[in-house]
Amino acid sequence: MSEQMTGLKKIDDCRWMVSMTGGMRVPGIIYSSEKLIKEMGADESPKQVANVAHLPGIVKFSLAMPDMHWGYGFPIGGVAAFDLEEGIISPGGVGYDINCGCRLVTTRLALEDVRDRVQDLVRALFQNIPAGVGSKGVLKLAARDQKKVLIDGAKWAVDQGYGTQEDLETTEDRGAVKGADPEKISARALERGREQLGTLGSGNHFLEIEVVEEIFDADAAAAFGLERDQVAVLIHSGSRGLGYQVCDDYLALMVKHIGELGFPLPDRQLACAYLSSPRGKDYLAAMACAANYAWANRQMLMHWTRETFEKVLRKPPRELGMKLLYDVCHNIAKLEQFVVDGKEKTLCIHRKGATRAFPPGHPALPGQYRKAGQPVLIPGDMGTGSYVLAGTERAFTETFGSTCHGAGRVMSRTQAMKASKGRAITREMAERGIVIMASGKGTLSEEIPEAYKNLDEVVDVVHRAGISRKVAKLRALGCIKG
C-alpha cells in the first residue's frame, strides 16, 4: 500500500507518522508493523488519530498502539496527553467501559497439579462467578455502601473480607483513584451498578486459567514471581453498566454543549469539556467513581476465584499461594506527572485501550517491582493466552508511560458470526486443549480467535519499539466467558 493511500509516513520499523494537516495541532504517531499496517485495510483509525490531534491542549503527539482499531471518537489503542489549563477531557477518549482492565493471580501450582482438574475448575468457576448479559451479583448494595465502593474501590472489597491488604499493594493506584465524587454520578448509573458488583459481564470479558509457557526476562520474571509451568489466573472485566451509564450521561451532556467549546469538532463522538471547567471536573470525578467500582469488582472476582480453587483442589490458601501479581486498567484518563520541554508537569493522560507502563524506579510502583518496572498485563483473545511485560523508561519519555492493551479486533462481530457458522467453537477449543464455558452461545461465535489481531505480532512491536519489555508468555488452559 502506498503512503498516499494510508496518509502514513514510515519513521522506522515500529513507528508511522500521521503528518499535520488542516486543523491538527500536533502530529500523530502510530506504533505498528508492516504486517499490521497492511492488515488494517480500510479501517479508519489513522483518521481518528488525526482527529484527536485537533483537540486543544494536546501535548506532543496523538499516539496509537499496535492493537489500534476503530473506536467511537478516539481510536481504541489511542493515547493522548492534555495540558490541565488549556486542554480537554473527553469521555470518548476513555471509552464506555471505564477501567476495563485485568489482573493476574499467580499460584504455587504447576501444570501437572491441575492438568486433570481443569474441567472441574472451569465448571466450578462458572458456577461461582456470575457472568453473562445483565448478570446480577450476590450483593444488592445499599446506597451508603455503594458510595463507599465508588470512593474506596478495591479497599472497600478488602474491608468486606474479599482479599487482603497485600492485594492493594499490587493494584494500579492501590485500587482507587483520588477525586471520586458520587454526587457527580446520575441516579441511573447508581441504579445500574447496584446489583452488578461482583459480575464478570459479557462480550470480550473473561476469566482464564493459564500456564506460564515461556520466560523472556529471567530477572523481571523472578521479581514478578513467575516461573515456567506455573499456573495463573487472568481476570478481564470492567465497571459493568455503571461505567457505561457514566460515559453515556456525560457524552450526551457534552454533545449538548458542543457549541460552547469555541472550536469545531471533526466528529461528534469527540465531544469534550475543558479540564479547567466545572463540566470537565465533574466528568473526571464521575469517571473516578466508575474506575473504583471496577477495581472493587475485579477484587471480588479474584476472591471467588481463590475460594473456588481451594474448594475444588481441597488445598488451603497457604499451599495454593494465590497472589495478585498486578492489576492494570486499560480504559481511563488520569492525572500524572511527566517532563515536558525540561519541566515537570501534571497532564491528563487518556488511555483508551492502552495500558500504563511505568519504568523501573517510578514511585508509583510497589517496592518489589521498583527494579523490574511496572508489570503490564496483555490479555489475548479467548483461548490465546496472554503476555506479561514490564514498563520502560522509553515508554515514559515517548508514550506518556503507555503501551498496548491486547490483541485488537480485525473482524466485525457479524463477520465473526458468519465465519463461525456451523462450527462447534467449544469443541474446536477443546481440541486445542482449552476448556471453555460461556453463558451465551453468541459470545463464543463473536469472540473466535481469528476475529483478533495476532497477539504475538502486537507484543513484538511494543517490545521492539522499547515501550515495554517482554517478560513471560502464558498459554490458556480453561476459560469462562459471559
Binding site: 476503530w70 467511537y72 445483565g134 441511573r188 453498566g241 466485525s412 457479524t414 463477520q415
Partner: protein, 138 residues
C-alpha cells in the same frame, strides 16, 4: 413494509430504520432494539411505560430516544414488545411502550446492546419515507 435492517460496522452493530412518518420511524426504532435483544414473541404486553424525550434536531432526538429505550432494559430489566408514538416534532417525542419485566426463565437474551452512539447518525425523509441510521455499541 420492512421496519428495519441491520448492517455491519467494525466491532459494532448498525441499524437502518424505516417509517412512513416520523412517529413510525421512532416506534420502529424502539421495536428494532428489542427485536435484536430478545425473541419478541415471548414478550407479553402486561405493563406500559411512558417515554418523553427532547433533542436539538431529528438526529439528536433519535439518539436520545434510543438511549431512553435502551435504558428500559439495561437499567430496569424491562422488555418492550411495541412502542406507540403519540406526539412528535423535531425537538420532542412522547410515546408509550408496552411489555413486561425480564424473566430469565421465560425470556432469552440474544444480544446485549450496550449503548447508542452518535457515530454516523442520520435521519432523512421524503414525502413517502423516513429513514434513520444508528450505530450501537454491543
Amino acid at each position: 413494509m420492512e421496519r428495519y435492517r441491520v448492517f455491519d460496522h467494525t466491532a459494532d452493530l448498525g441499524m437502518e430504520i424505516y417509517g412512513r412518518t416520523a412517529g413510525d420511524l421512532f416506534s420502529n426504532a424502539a421495536f428494532a432494539v428489542f427485536d435484536i435483544i430478545t425473541d419478541l414473541s415471548q414478550i407479553r404486553p402486561r405493563e406500559t411505560r411512558d417515554i418523553v424525550v427532547e433533542g436539538s434536531g431529528w438526529e439528536d432526538l433519535l439518539v436520545n430516544f434510543l438511549r431512553e429505550v435502551l435504558y428500559l432494559f439495561n437499567g430496569d430489566s424491562f422488555l418492550s414488545k411495541e412502542c406507540f408514538v403519540s406526539e412528535i416534532d423535531e425537538v420532542r417525542v412522547v410515546g408509550k411502550v408496552s411489555g413486561e419485566q425480564f424473566d430469565p426463565f421465560r425470556h432469552r437474551i440474544h444480544k446485549e446492546i450496550k449503548a447508542v452512539t452518535y457515530h454516523q447518525v442520520m435521519v432523512r425523509h421524503t414525502p413517502e419515507l423516513w429513514t434513520g441510521k444508528v450505530i450501537f455499541d454491543v
